[in-house]
Structures are given as structure tokens and as C-alpha cells.
Amino acid sequence: MIERTPILNLVTQLVLFVGLVVALAPFVFVAIAATHDLRDVNLVPMPLLPGHNFIDNLATAWHRAGLGPKLVNSLIFAGGVAIGKVVVSAFTAYAIVFFRFPGRQLLFWSIFVTLMLPLEVRIVPTYAVAANVLGPYQAILDITGITSLVEALSGIRLDLQFGLLNSYPGLILPLVATATGTFLYRQFFLTLPDELVEAAKMDGAGPIRFFFDIVLPLSRNNIAALATIMFLWAWNQYLWPLLVTTEPEHATAVTALKSLIPNEGGIPEWNVAMAGTLIVMLPTLIVVIVMQRWFVRGLIASEK
């Protein structure tokens, strides 16, 4: 639309420029702080010309927080959540959309409810489940009397124990157990024309063949979008990894940041802290920049 609005255009540019500065300033400030030595970083105001200690600071932060193995952990963790989500929610959405089995509505609603309660609010009991993932099943056996029955018959006391603390499954599985991706796929599957199913049936393709040869290739865009946002979401998780990984060698990069906070009254090594922050935020920033299209698409589609 062509409209002569010189003043409004000026205001637009000004407001957007301020927005840009506010959005970028923290990144720039962190990056500059990471190049200073201990003295310069604590000057007020901090010199805005980069110093010469960038590589040293990165190395110090890397060693102090043990970032090498922790970044690998983060990568496996975030990748695992992304893959798990993509696979499990595609399966579930397929079941909900393309089949009519008894209890389908119940399944739909029981998955829908999981959208409402984030992990953070049910953190304590979820932790207890992760400590012994077979606990729920043991409790069911106890309550239904199967445990005592087996004990009376064979003399063996059933005691199911399987801890997931300090393991990748323990990190990954509870985060896969939500509905986010399921509805993204469901919306998409519903737009697939009925004729597609009918044609496949006529050609003799069963449901499994139809899923792998037709539905999955058509969902490529959704898979990319979902994988991107789930990777970011998992990489940025904090509370759950903090609880589940009690041993430092299993911790993730994001939780490792805590060890870089300068202690009150200690040496204010903000240059090292900022170097660590930079290392931890860089992978997600790269994903956002490279996968921008899928990221935006995934966010908008998965929340509707």
C-alpha cells in the first residue's frame, strides 16, 4: 500500500531501532565482557572496546564448569527429546485421527489434559517416579493383591526397582510425556484428504504401510518444525536436569552455569561467567538463526 507518511515512518524506524538495541544489547554486552580481564570487567562503566582475554576466558569457563562433556550431554538430551517427541506424537496422532477404536475419545482427552500441567508444578512426585520408574507398577501390584498372591504361591517377593536418576532416559522420557507435538500432527493429519486413505486402501496398503510411505513423507515440514522447537525447549530446560542429575558427569550445560556465578565476597570473575554464558547460549542461538523458518512455524502451529 502506498501512503505518504514521513513522520510516521520516522517514528516507526525510531521505535524499531530502540527495540533492536534492547534485544541485542545483552548479547553484545555479554560478548564484550567475555573479552576483558578481571580488572576491566569490574570497571564502572565497563569499557566497551573488547579486551584481549577472550580465548583465556573461554578456556577457563570451559574447564571450571566442565562444559565439554556437559555440552555433549545437553546435545544427547535435547536430541533425544526432539526425536522422542517427533516419533511418539506422530504415532499417537495417527492413532487418534485414522482409527476408530473403543476409548478413542478418552485417549484424546487424557492426552489433552497433559497440556495444562507443566512438569514444574508436579515436580516432586515426578522425581519420585524417576527414582524408581517401576514404582507405579509395583504399587498397582501391591494394591491389587498380586504381590501377596505371588509371594504366597512362589515365596518370591516382587520388588520392581529401576532407577532413572543420572541417566539419559531419566532426563529424556518425562519431557517426552506431554501432548505438545500430538496436536500439531493431529491438525495436519486432519487436512489430509479422505481420498488419500481410500486410494491407499484400494491399492492394498495397510495402515502401517500407509503411515510410513504416505503420511510420514507428507509430514516432513511438521517434523522439522516440531524437532526444532523441541530441541530448543529441551536444551533450555533447567529444573528437571538439575534434580535428576546429581552427579556432575551427567549434568547438562545449562545447569553447569550455576557453578560459574561469582560467589558473594569471592573474586568477581564476571569475565569467566560471561564467557560460559556465551558458550551455553550459542548453540540455541545458532539453531534459532539457521532454523528460523521452522522455529516460527513450529511455535505458531503447536500452540493453536
Binding site: A23, F98, L243, G276
Partner: protein, 294 residues
């Protein structure tokens, strides 16, 4: 919406759903149920027996002024950060939508903050807003003691609100912009031909058409402020000074894992669950009906 053509062999359908069902039963429904059970009993932290106490845990929490203070703080945090994030995002989206020179750049850069982990940006903002070094420290050179989030509760609260809003401006911006771009240009052009200026078009066409997005983001931001705030609080203030930034989720974590008061933490979880469910139901039941759709 339902499909007409489906597959008949429904046992395969069930097989496809099994992984999800096992996962949500084990890691969602069981813990949620257990939270309800724990909130009605007194749990020993190291296992071994529990005593049924009915609603005593809830009574104890609801009589506790420290709990109510944390609820109040969470509400202040939620309202302030949601308002800041949505307001900022709306202004930016409206201006980017005008498609002036450089709007492509803004569209790319303004969403970056949302990609950053809450604890990482917490640490960055902790430095930026530290009283003795960083960006805001000059305030203390002008007037010593003017800014100190380590000692002053209000300063600490401002600190976490700013950090949280900074991240969510990027998120809200994506949604506002996509909603603005979905408005048919023809409507706006017709209004322009009728002589409506930019402000008038904004007020009478674009903003009314944005109401669904506004309410959607309102619920999402409020819910996220209860949960995503944990990393920011833990890194920036650890709930301090003197509990001044102890939000509800942080208190659950602290009572449960540091104080080993599983029952109290479970009861608090239940209250928070009910609160978040009410928010979600509110969105689906009342708000979606009254807002304007095309």
C-alpha cells in the same frame, strides 16, 4: 472435525497409541495422582510409612503468611512481566507490520531472545544489573546504595521481571506479527480509501482482530511465568534477599527438595495445578467465545 475414511483394524491403532499412553501414565498421571495422595498424608522423606491427615496440609499452608506472600509475589511477577512482554511485543509487531525499510532484519533479530535458556539469560542479566559491576552499576556511582538487588527486595523483583520479559517479548512478537499478517490487506486498504488514518485503522481494524491472540498470549504468558521463571530466579536471586523473590514454583522446589517437606510441597503443587487449570479452562470456556473472530 472427524475423518470419514479410516482403517478398520483398530488394534493397530491402539498399538500406535501405546508408547504415548505408557509415558503419560508413568510420568504424568501417576505423579499427578501421587501429588494428590501426598497432599492428604504426612510423608516421611526417606520412605517408610505415612499418616493420613486429610486436609491438614492445605489448612497449614493456607494459614501460613509466608505462603500467601509467595502467592502475592507470583501474581505481581506474572502480571508485571506479562504486561511488559505483551506491551513491548505488540508495539514492535505493529511497527514491523508496516513493512518499512529494514523490517526483514527486525523480523529476524527480535525473536532471538526467545531462543536463550532462562538460566543463561539470568546469568547475563545478573551481571548487567549487578550493583558493583556491569551496566547498572553507574547508578551506585551517582548515588551509592540506589540499586542493590542483593539487599533490596524490590530491586531483586525488578531484576527478575526485566529478565523474564526480555525473553518473552520475542515469543509474543512472533504471535502478534503472524496474527497481524493474517489480516487481509484488502480490509486495511478499503479503510484507507475511506479516509481512515493509520491510528484509526489500528484502533478499529487491527486491534479488534488481534483480540484472540491477546487472550491466547495472556494465558500462555501467565502460565509460563509460573514455570519458566524458576531458572531465572534460581540463578539471579535464589529466592532472596529475605524471600523477596520466592515465587510459587521456587517455594515448591525449596520446601520439597531442600526442606524435605514432601506433603507441604505436594499440597502447594495441587494449589498451583488448580490455578493453572482454571486459567486454561477460562481461556477455552469464556474468553474464546467473546473475542472477535473473522
Amino acid at each position: 472435525m472427524e475423518k470419514r475414511a479410516t482403517f478398520g483394524s483398530w488394534w493397530i491403532g491402539i498399538a500406535f497409541a501405546v508408547p504415548q499412553v505408557i509415558l503419560i501414565f508413568t510420568f504424568f498421571y501417576w505423579p499427578a495422582g501421587e501429588a494428590i495422595y501426598w497432599s492428604l498424608t504426612l510423608q516421611q522423606p526417606w520412605g517408610g510409612g505415612n499418616i493420613w491427615v486429610g486436609l491438614d496440609n492445605f489448612r497449614q499452608i493456607l494459614d501460613d503468611p509466608i505462603y500467601w506472600a509467595s502467592v502475592l509475589r507470583s501474581v505481581v511477577f506474572a502480571v508485571a512481566s506479562t504486561g511488559l512482554a505483551m506491551g513491548g511485543a505488540l508495539i514492535l509487531a505493529v511497527f514491523v507490520d508496516r513493512e518499512c525499510t529494514g523490517s526483514r532484519l527486525y523480523r529476524v533479530v527480535l525473536i532471538w531472545p526467545y531462543g536463550i535458556a532462562a538460566p543463561a539469560l539470568g546469568l547475563a542479566f545478573r551481571f548487567l544489573m549487578a550493583p558493583e559491576a556491569g551496566f547498572l552499576a553507574f547508578l551506585n556511582q551517582i548515588a551509592p546504595g540506589l540499586w542493590d538487588p542483593g539487599l533490596n527486595g524490590t530491586d531483586a523483583m525488578i531484576e527478575i521481571i526485566v529478565a523474564f520479559s526480555w525473553k518473552y517479548v520475542g515469543y509474543d512478537f512472533i504471535f502478534f506479527l503472524s496474527a497481524l499478517q493474517a489480516i487481509p490487506r484488502a480490509q486495511i486498504e478499503a479503510a484507507a480509501l475511506d479516509g481512515a488514518g493509520w491510528l484509526r485503522r489500528l484502533r478499529d481494524i487491527q486491534l479488534p482482530l488481534l483480540t484472540p491472540t491477546v487472550f491466547f498470549l495472556l494465558v500462555i504468558d501467565l502460565t509460563e511465568s509460573f514455570q519458566d521463571s524458576f531458572g531465572i530466579v534460581d540463578i539471579m536471586t535464589a529466592g532472596g534477599p529475605a524471600r523477596a523473590t520466592e515465587l510459587m514454583v521456587y517455594k515448591i522446589y525449596f520446601d520439597g527438595f531442600r526442606g524435605f517437606d514432601y506433603s507441604g510441597a505436594a499440597a502447594q503443587s495441587i494449589i498451583l495445578m488448580v490455578l493453572i487449570m482454571l486459567l486454561t479452562v477460562l481461556q477455552f470456556r469464556f474468553i474464546e467465545r467473546r473475542v472477535h473472530y473473522k
